[in-house]
Symmetry: C2
Subunit: 134 residues, 2 copies
DNA sequence: CTGGACCTTCCCATCATGGGAGGGTCAAGG
DNA sequence: CCTTGACCCTCCCATGATGGGAAGGTCCAG
């Protein structure tokens, strides 16, 4: 299978597949005489694994670990779970940060008339309680 | 004031201040004979504005618009509010995406024993319901 | 006059991804 | 046989916001 088919089948772009190979996330693909990459269904399964992990927000280095565990018959599910829960904790931290931003923005926006006048608590909030400049 | 003082006073790093200048977010600073940048307290106020907007997650291009509105006596608060609420919507979209990830991860992790055995619904989920590879 | 703390510009790295140039491969059809 | 078009290849550049560091200039205090 050529890279285009592998891309469609896995949901990763051809560009990404080459990239994953170049950074050693996946093993170099077989090559035909034409120098075209050649993918097996096992290769596609690995690419799908990577794509699903990406869809869950795992960074590449974590996916590297997960791929290794996938192929390790002697793995313990505890290792996998730890990686997953660490990632959850990081996601929740980022969510909390963004929620703080949203809360602050709502607080500022609630006091803003949103009409044709220039007076605006949002600008004032950003300016540190000085309403205008220049 | 030199860039180091301006950095401390504004909360933006000297590196960032130069960067903001290089991309035209802020006007080029005055220069002394030594070629050192020279900042006024108004400059610092602008840098603080930028930093606060960054802390609220606004991307640079939005901050560009907000800075323009800050300096525009003829602005309408509706414009500011629209930018802020657009940004809130974007944040909420990202939060929703991450919450979906967290929910999926929790669903997978809940079924995972997290012990010494290799059986792991997390790996299986990523693999598309095929438990092992290699 | 020297040391150290500051400043300058310029380049590189991050992270994951896309875009595009310049060129090779291959199958179908005139 | 040759062209056309759809693939593929590698290599470089860009994103967005930030940090790191090299090589060199400035300035003040000892």
């Amino acid at each position: 299978m050529q890279i285009g088919q592998a891309a469609k089948a896995s949901g990763a772009s051809a560009k990404m597949i080459r990239h994953y190979e170049s950074i050693g996330l996946i093993a170099p693909a077989e090559r035909r005489d034409s120098n075209y990459r050649d993918y097996s269904s096992d290769d596609v399964a690995r690419l799908q694994f990577v794509r699903r992990a990406r869809d869950l927000g795992f960074p590449i280095d974590r996916i590297r670990e997960l791929l290794a565990l996938w192929g390790d018959r002697g793995r313990s599910s505890a290792e996998v779970k730890r990686i997953a829960l660490d990632h959850v904790a990081e996601l929740e931290e980022r969510i909390a940060g963004m929620r703080d931003m949203v809360a602050t923005l709502h607080r500022l926006a609630d006091g803003c008339a949103g009409d044709g006048r220039p007076d605006c608590p949002i600008i004032e909030g950003l300016a540190g309680c000085r309403a205008s400049q220049g």
